[in-house]
């Protein structure tokens, strides 16, 4: 067999193996995590590898926490505005009484 054919076969085998790996990787990623099997986040806080499965959860939770904090702050500001409006209306009412 000539060298050219050997190289072509080697490249074909390489492509097949790479494709197999990519397909299995995608299938693994797409399979949902079983309940209660999420990795513990506390152990991974010091790790700097952002592509790790555990750290992805950590960042997702951080984003959820920050969005929750934002919502809470919006609710608090709305409440404070309502309170201030209520107080001002009271003052207005009292002024009317006077």
């Amino acid at each position: 067999m000539s060298k050219v054919w050997l190289i072509i076969i080697a490249v074909a085998i390489f492509i097949v193996l790479i494709t197999t790996f990519i397909v299995t990787f995608i299938l693994f990623r797409k399979t949902p995590e079983p309940k209660g099997c999420q990795p513990s986040i506390d152990q991974c806080k010091s790790c700097s590898i952002k592509g790790c499965r555990a750290n992805i959860y950590l960042y997702q939770n951080k984003n959820i926490d920050s969005s929750l904090n934002k919502d809470e702050s919006i609710i608090n500001t709305n409440e404070s505005i309502n309170d201030s409006l209520g107080n001002s209306s009271e003052t207005i009412d009292t002024s009317k009484q006077h």
Partner: protein, 199 residues
Amino acid sequence: MTQSAPFIYTFLLAIVSSMLADNVVLNRFYGICSFVGVSNKVKSSFSMGLAVCFVTILASLVCWPIFNFILKPLSIEFMDTLTYILVIASLVQVVGLFIKKYSPSLYKAFGIYLPLITTNCAVLGVVQTNTDTGLNFGLSMANALGTSIGYLLVMVLFSCVRERLETTTGNKVFKGIPIALVCACIMAMAFMGFSGIGE
């Protein structure tokens, strides 16, 4: 019976010698990263050892026919390392996929250690040794079995030592990794006592 007896003897001898005399961690220095990194607790090191056992045997089972029936007849043996890396990585993904889907309890037990096996050079080292030394299928399986049991044994022993070391009060300079490395050195010397067992 007369023909099978020597093979069984060779098979068992190969298992014992690759487990003790030619230990993968303490003699060949493969898989040192997981040996030091995951041996803090007995439970985690046992999980890691079991996962490595499973993947090593499976990788040897798959890679030996690939080398002898595809790469060797086509005269493309130079592709062996690349092929083994990709086969091991794919195997780990497939095993992880099945465990994730059909056995959540096992998936929980393995945890983060299953994807870590892809980067464990002990698995690649065993598969490469099997083909480089020209072992037949039975002996390569014996080598894989013995090596992986040896890895599990050393991991559990070393984690027991490290757990004991955590409770001791010693010099602060040696606390943690330094004393662990000293212990690994002493363990390696102890395992040298098994040398010559397979000769």
